[in-house]
Symmetry: C2
Subunit: 356 residues, 2 copies
């Protein structure tokens, strides 16, 4: 059993804490450790370090190695440019194939929040057990707790098995991020799961599906396969990545493959994709304020404060995000914290590179 | 002609920029110079430096001297404790009496905003001319432009003279800070002025009135008069200030004296008593944002940003005050910025002295 941790995020949504050189998964905003450290440690009891691969960008690989010193250096696979998840997963599959062509691989995002680690590993083990049995494409589906419009959804189909009390179901359809009304109807219906972005399959299975559904990508991957371990490895990867189109594994494979399965997961999962989402998972005081750093509030509520260096005083405000870093201060409406992206775009437009 | 500049403020309203050691009048929040420097320079064309006295607290006197190096050191009069404006003015009057008992003295707050300096000096000259002619207590009354509840008002009485086109009127009554409805009625009535806290009179006149209306204070001032210039000067001031009651010149003298006069002033005056008031006088961009320091806004409006060191980014917010200093960040609702006082009280309660 191998794990592939996808660590390619650009990190605009947690500006000013996240930067081009320091995307979300390299930050310690969930706890004492960085998110990628937590992600690796979470699977530690199931998968040995030598079987854990990280796929990341060239500008982050040094920091990834620094944060994960117990992983073999050759397990840090570098993508020369980001091409979305399908090439990333295909690339990792080729590396694993070299080691063990019949291995089961679990694909995990590097930056998700999973408070119940035991339950997570239980679910993952069940999914791996099924993957081992045949040519299945498995995902983990999360029971929705609110009408989130930032997640993809999966319509659940017929149950195909029950293992140790956990149901495995067919996926009837994948649904891209819905509008609020549709998200509410999904929630009410009860037959939908959030798409967690976690996948489990045999290396041979996913490579077969990529060959069938994304033949151009597969051709590129074959070139890479030949070059792995040779002097030209890096150059070939660079050439292939220049040519291949960016495409997600969801759109490129999962939605088209048919017969995909989902294992239901219930471990408090969230992708924590904004400061507002982070506020939801942080501990709060009696006024709903969640703070890291020295904080004092007067008539202020439901705000997130991140300020390692300075005292932050809030007076008469609510639903704000206040973040201090060495060179910047962000103040934004909490419920509009996805608009931080707009700000980063503006910094780019204004060529204020030192803040990116 | 002498000027007395009252520089005793504690500076809680501009926290975190103002601190116990650095009250508002010592800050450069109006322009390139500090407010007390602007106050002194504004009267420079009328009154020589040797005739300008500053009354301040012991903990601020060094900084006052540093900011006003062209004033003789002996012109910085130190109050051992603050006792409101009546003792402050009486003390200064005694010093001036030693130099010239028939002098006209103008009493000015150290921290007001006066954009039209020429008009200000014209008004002051007219007031001084009248003060010279007899035992008048004169104030400068400002034409109200909005129903401010943070200012005292004066009900205007009969006109008594016109000098160079400027009307001098009797004061019919003083009105303490009104409620909003009353303030609106004052504004609509048209017969009310804002009390600017600026006074003009002969030294002999004000000392006579203090003797008549505040006899205990006067007794204390006589003891100080005897000690001025002797080795015991500082000790005597200390003893007297321990005994005298705090009282404002408005309440202790002006409201009770009768026959006070006001000269109408129209020079854009504001006491700028809060971050919100400062926002009103600062230049704003097309979204109503007033910023000092590097600032970028997305869908944000009508806010004040003061951040000398860090980039401040506002996203989706309005009507905020954001202030950064070396150790603190304030985020408060602009229209509730007088509540910053509550925050300073809380810092005191929590014994967070380093932030006071």
């Amino acid at each position: 059993m191998y794990a592939v941790i996808m660590a390619g995020g650009r990190g605009t949504r947690f500006w000013p804490k996240s930067r081009e050189k320091m995307p979300k998964h390299l930050l310690d905003i969930f706890g004492k450790k960085t998110i990628i450290q937590e992600t690796v440690e979470r699977i530690g009891p199931m998968i040995p370090a030598k079987n854990i691969l990280i796929v990341t960008g060239a500008s982050h690989s040094d920091e990834v190695m620094r944060q994960l010193p117990h992983l073999p250096e050759e397990n840090i696979i570098i993508e020369p440019v980001g091409r979305n998840t399908a090439p990333c997963i295909g690339l990792a599959a080729m590396y694993i194939k070299k080691m063990n062509p019949e291995a089961v691989m679990v694909v995990l995002p590097s930056d998700h929040y999973i408070p119940d680690e035991e339950a997570f590993r239980r679910t993952l083990a069940i999914a791996a057990e099924i993957a081992q049995r045949g040519n299945y494409l498995l995902t983990i589906g999360i029971k929705p707790t609110s009408p989130e419009t930032g997640y993809g959804y999966m319509e659940q189909g017929e149950p195909v098995a029950v293992i140790r009390g956990e149901e495995i179901l067919q996926v009837r359809s994948f649904r891209e991020k819905p509008g609020l009304e549709q998200a509410k109807s999904f929630l009410q219906d009860g037959g939908f799961s959030w798409n967690s972005g976690m996948f489990i399959w045999k290396v041979s299975t996913i490579l077969h599906e990529i060959n069938r559904l994304l033949p151009n990508l597969y051709k590129g991957l074959l070139k890479i396969e030949d070059a792995i371990g040779t002097d030209s490895e890096k150059d070939v990867i660079g050439e292939v990545y220049q040519e291949i189109d960016p495409i997600s594994i969801d759109y490129g494979v999962m939605e088209k493959a048919g017969g995909t399965l989902l294992v239901k997961g219930d471990f408090g999962w969230s992708d924590v994709g904004s400061w507002n989402a982070l506020w939801k998972v942080w501990d709060k005081d009696e006024n709903g304020n969640a703070a890291r750093g020295r904080f004092i509030g007067v008539d202020s509520s439901n705000s997130l404060v991140y300020s390692p260096d300075k005292l932050v005083a809030l007076v008469g405000v609510e639903d704000l995000v206040v973040v201090e870093t060495a060179d910047s201060i962000l103040v934004c409406k909490r419920t509009g914290s996805q608009d931080v992206k707009k700000l980063v775009d503006m910094l780019e437009e204004k060529n204020m590179k030192e803040y990116l």
